[in-house]
Symmetry: C2
Subunit: 217 residues, 2 copies
DNA sequence: AACTTATTTTAGATAAGACTAAAAATAGAA
DNA sequence: TTCTATTTTTAGTCTTATCTAAAATAAGTT
C-alpha cells in the first residue's frame, strides 16, 4: 500500500485539482501540505515514478486514474470517521478534522465496510461534504456559494468551505448549521457584505463569511 | 509525542518484561518485532537516550517509569479499540488484532476518553486481557495456565496467551470462549496432554493448547 | 584455561521524507 | 525583446528506521 505521506499528498492534489480545474502548481501543494516547495517537488517526482500523478517539470501536476482512486478512498475514510466521531462519540463538528486526519490512514477494507454499515451508510459528513461510495463515486451536489446569491434569494446551508475551528464555532454561536434555512435580506455592493435571515434572527455577515457557505437553492 | 516505531518497541519490551521478569534480551525484542538484532539495538539506544528504557550494553533492557507509562497507554488504546471492533462492528475476536495494531497509535486523549465511555468503560478486551485505566493502573487477575492444573480441578476461561487467528478459530470450533467453564478430567504425565470437559462435551487437548489458556479457579 | 558458539554491538548502506541554499526555468514589465 | 521577479527544481544535508557484514563480548565445553 501507500505511505501516510503519499496518501496525504494525493488527497491534497485531488482537492486542489477540483478547485482550480487543471494542473496544480507545486507551490500550491507545498502550501497546503505546510512544507517547502523543494519537498513537494521531491514527493511529486516519486508519485510520478509510481504513476499516481502525471507531471512535467515546471508545468504542474495532475492525478492519474490510479492516483484519483487512492485519493478518493482516503477521502471516503476521512468523512466516514468524521461521521462516527460526531454521531457516535458526540464530538462537535469543529473538533473532528484533526482526528479524522489520522484515522483516514488506517488500512482495512473490512473495517470501512463495517463502519459504513454501523453508521447506516451516511451520504454526507458533518460538514456537508459528500461521502464517496466504495467504488469511488462522489455524489455531485448542486450548490452555490452564498456570496454569489442576490437579495431576497434563499436556500438551505448544505456545506462549508472552511473547516477551521474558529469558523465553525462562529457558525455555532449564531445557530447556523448544515440544514439551516438562510435568506439574503440585503447585499452591499461596495464590500460584498450581507444581511441574512436565519430562523427568526438577522445577521450582518462579511463577504469572507459568505464565501465559505454553500447553499442549495 | 513518540513515533509509531518507538511505541511498538516500548509495548513489546513491556510484554517481554512481564513474561520473563527481569531485563529483556535484545534478541527477544528483535524476534517479537520481526526485525534484526542490529535494528533492535539501534532503537534501544535511542530509547535509552530519551530515558524511556534503561540499558547497559550486553546486559539487556528494562523500561523506565516513563517508558512504562507510554507502553501502558498504547496497550489501553489497543484493547479499547478491540472491544469497539467486536462489540460495535461485530468482528470476530480473531480478526481484530491487526486493525487494533494500527488504531492504537492514533493520538488523541479526548478520543480515547469518549471511546471508553461509548463502550461503557469495559474492564477486559475480547481476549480476556485487562484494560488499563486512564492513570495506567492494570487490574491484576489471579489466573492459572490450564496446563498447570491437575485432574478434577475446574475453573472458567478468563484469557488466552496466543492471539493468532488459527488458535482462536480452533477454540471457536470447540465452542470454547472467554467465560466458558472448563474441568480437567484427565492429564497424561508423559506429554502433558489433557482430557477436558467443556459444557456437555469432552475434548482431548495437547499440552501446547493447555499452555495458552488462562483459567480462573 | 583455551577454544567454540551464540549473542550483541558497531560500521557502513539504503530509503523516505523533510530541510536550506543555489541554480534553472518561466512569467511579467519595461 | 531584454531584464527582473517569481516559481520550480536540483544539490547536498539531516533524521528515522531498516538492512548486511564484521567485530566484540558473553557463555558453554572440553
Ligand atoms: Mn492525513
Ligand atoms: Mn469534513
Ligand atoms: Mn502497533
Ligand atoms: Mn487483545
Amino acid at each position: 500500500m501507500y505511505t501516510r505521506a503519499e496518501e496525504n499528498y494525493l488527497k491534497c492534489i485531488f482537492h486542489l485539482e477540483q478547485e482550480h480545474k487543471g494542473a496544480v502548481a507545486t507551490n500550491a501543494i507545498a502550501q497546503m501540505m505546510h512544507t517547502k516547495a523543494s519537498s513537494a517537488t521531491d514527493m511529486i517526482q516519486r508519485l510520478a515514478d509510481k504513476e499516481l500523478v502525471s507531471y512535467r517539470r515546471y508545468k504542474g501536476t495532475t492525478l492519474t486514474k490510479a492516483g484519483i482512486a487512492v485519493a478518493v478512498a482516503v477521502i471516503r475514510k476521512h468523512r466516514l470517521w468524521e461521521v462516527f466521531l460526531v454521531e457516535k462519540l458526540n464530538f462537535q463538528w469543529d473538533e473532528v478534522h484533526e482526528i479524522a486526519e489520522q484515522l483516514e490512514h488506517i488500512q482495512s477494507e473490512e473495517l470501512i465496510t463495517r463502519l459504513d454499515k454501523f453508521l447506516d451508510h451516511p451520504d454526507y459528513d458533518p460538514h456537508g461534504d459528500p461521502i464517496p461510495d466504495k467504488h469511488g463515486n462522489i455524489k455531485k451536489t448542486e450548490k452555490k456559494v452564498l456570496s454569489e446569491m442576490s437579495k431576497s434569494q434563499h436556500g438551505i446551508l448544505v456545506g462549508v468551505r472552511e473547516t477551521s475551528g474558529e469558523f465553525l464555532q462562529y457558525l455555532d454561536k449564531r445557530n447556523i448549521a448544515i440544514g439551516t434555512k438562510i435568506k439574503v435580506l440585503g447585499k452591499e455592493f461596495f464590500d460584498g457584505s450581507m444581511i441574512i435571515q436565519v430562523k427568526r434572527e438577522q445577521f450582518f455577515i462579511s463577504k469572507k463569511i459568505a464565501e465559505n457557505l454553500y447553499i442549495q437553492v
